[in-house]
Symmetry: D2
Subunit: 265 residues, 4 copies
């Protein structure tokens, strides 16, 4: 399907504030960016670089006053997300080098503390895709999903203790559980068509059957309509904005995803 | 200045043909991409990756029949290119690691064969920026610039023997001469505002005074209005399209660069 | 000074166990590896790769039975560690791209939770090197250093709550405090000449004054004799061995560092 | 088999001369480095980095006078090189991203000029491994192999015109022919057990059947005993020493490869 995505942040800046933004989706195996806009008001110099995960990041200094970041894209993405019940567990010794780091614990995914719990949740399952699907089902039954967003990221241990969380929190717990079973897992931030209320969304991918598969503990049934903006080990790596110095929060944040017809340009 | 750039290639494809395209300019220190379009007609699956030089490359298989690639961008770029007469030569031992490979000879820049010639051309110059400027002046006086493009890339040795060439050829000779003096040099492909006739353009950068500076042996006077699409060691690395199998050439190729007003979106 | 370092791990393996080892020090700006050995008994196939931090990592499957890993090196390293009181804070917008990720919170360094505490500890200090030195002094006065090693890595929050820790723990807290002040900080694992009892050691580096400087909260006075094996965001990235499947701990672990004369080979 | 390799260069240096050396073999899928030495006489500061191909490179400034570089290693390498007649041609669209650059022409491998010749040589062969084997057989029958080394690297076009060459030259022509058939090919520099007279050796690898295979146009029959030091597009990338400024050649160059017993350390 073709989607039109847009995202606007407006900040009220007191002192010149350095930002690293991650708001430029890339064309990849799962999505094709046919059109894209990235506006800053007022215009300021921007330097873009590719981070260690392949994400395009924008560095700038926001000037005092109202500072708006507006991005939009026309994206072709899959109608249905690939699913592969039975896809095999890939033995650690056979994983590609670049995938290994997604086995390590990270800021919000303390996978070193979830080994026993993950083993119990997935008891009786075939190693691989089915373990991940069982973790997702367990999360949906156990952890209360709160739509919307939250300012403070929680770690998997904290989410497990609260028994509730936003999409980011559920992803963190799912990722920690997967990694504790030696299944590489990573976080994705982006858009999901049909999400209500519409917000930026977070989900995760697990590496089984020799490729990355999409999973989403917030959705009863995996549909298509995902547009990825950033990939990383957890929310620390894929913040759509990282800001340094005295904290600044957006005064307005607007996200919009609409289905469009393919253009015949 | 704000520029609107566009580029269209139409190919007449006989058999399914793999392509690697390099047609997505990146935001960098010198330019900011505010809007961008990338259309393929007909639509085909595309995979994008970042090559070893940081360029965004698009892989696809062109289907039989007419196949069009249309890209466009709105870009903020400098009104004037930075110039720095007197900027120092950076001793090889002090160059950043990532710059070292731009000292090596490459397919079209046989710098290992130009040591004596470069020394003679730049006799009496201060090592660094002034040597490069002298090479550019020598090229303008010596090698006849033919506007337009050519199908076959020539190497520096061949250009030097012919004493004429298109923008790509002049860049190759300039790069070979710089490298033979231990000055890192790299090729850039992109757009230049005001070029007549309008075509994709090639120029080069040399690393002196601890940064990359822009040079263009085809222009009497360096102006602004450059939009880079790709960087590499020479034309082999920065082909805007590489195509594999039986050769296919564009039946039409249209390039357009216009000055626009900054949008107040 | 010239040092001879050696390290032996012996594991008692029950089932074939995949390992990722990080035990090959690299020659870098601070050290030169003149001789090196890396023995596995029994010999097994090994694949080596460079991780995202530039560390050389060795992948293998340990066979059942006793499995020994023995490494040794002759290393030239500085007699004195560089120190630079007054070295400036580098504004976030001016940091090299590759350094930015060392500002983010990580598994064991929850820098997002230490902003106020770091500000209080460093009140009155010049931003930059002096802040880091003050953090190190505060740690030495406040957190009790336990020599030796521990199996379970603690996070900065946990170390701060316990008020004691091994070298790795002190480093985690120091790193978290630095990052919360927007000073990039990273963990180093390696050898330290003269450490008693001799063990693998952990310390940290902070990026101030436009380069990385060495700090060590476990030492009253910074001396030379450091040999780095691995760099990373925290202990999750620089485990000298990561092992997957049922936990396996070394039955013996021997570390030795001796001063030697430069060889006249 | 276990091999002991050693290599000594002695230079007579007139003025301080920057060098980039590539003399540290890495442990990889095909070889394991159990012991390694790297001595410089006199000792000078060295900085090591990993180049874009994964090779470990050493940067230093050689001081005036005699300057010796001595390296040695104990290496486990295969008794027999893998061969795979019939291994399939991998369609360009299916090649891993990182392999694509080995399809491009490079300084000494003008693959853009060999399409017709390669097609004729391999007429009737199955695409893939068999084409490469046919190219190697053709080279052995057509181009006279001169053992020893030569100072000046020749390009594939030049080698084809001379009809003779050293190992490096034959590899360049083989690589150019492979790439012109859309088969990725790369150069390897290293040691070969049993070579007479003993010198550093050059051979090549081609990517067919989803992996890199070793080929050597200088050997009637592929045996084992290869130890790779560096990989690259051609000799420009894998010079064991690159030196800048007035040319300096080794006054002595000694290479030694001996079979040893596996150590029971």
């Amino acid at each position: 399907m073709w989607l039109h995505t847009s995202c606007e942040f407006v900040f009220d800046i007191a002192v010149p504030t350095p930002f690293v933004l991650m708001l430029r989706p890339r064309s990849g195996a799962q999505q094709w960016i046919a059109r894209e806009e990235y506006r800053l008001v007022p215009t300021v110099p921007v330097f873009e670089f590719t981070d260690g995960y392949g994400n395009l990041c924008q560095r700038l200094i926001a000037p005092p006053g109202a500072f708006a970041v507006r991005t939009a894209a026309e994206v072709m993405t899959a109608d249905c997300v690939d699913q592969a019940p039975g896809a095999v567990f890939v033995e650690v010794q056979n994983l590609p080098d670049a995938v290994l780091s997604y086995l390590l614990p990270s800021r919000y995914c303390e996978s070193d503390r979830f080994g026993q719990m993950a083993t119990e949740i997935t008891a009786g399952q075939q190693p691989g895709y089915d373990q991940v699907a069982t973790i997702v089902a367990w999360l949906r039954n156990t952890i209360r999903y709160q739509s919307g967003s939250s300012d403070i990221a929680l770690s998997a241990v904290e989410v497990n203790s609260r028994q509730s969380g936003v999409c980011r929190d559920l992803s963190h717990l799912a990722i920690a559980l997967c990694r504790s079973l030696s299944i590489p897992a990573r976080m994705v931030v982006g858009y999901l068509y049909g999400l209500a209320p519409m917000e930026l969304h977070a989900w995760f991918e697990a590496y089984v059957g020799w490729r990355w598969y999409t999973f989403d503990a917030t959705q009863a049934k995996l549909k298509g309509g995902y547009v990825a903006i950033g990939y990383g080990r957890d929310a620390a790596d894929v913040a759509v904005f990282s800001q340094f110095g005295p904290p600044v929060h957006p005064t307005t944040q607007t996200v919009c995803v609409q289905r469009i017809q393919a253009e015949d340009t």
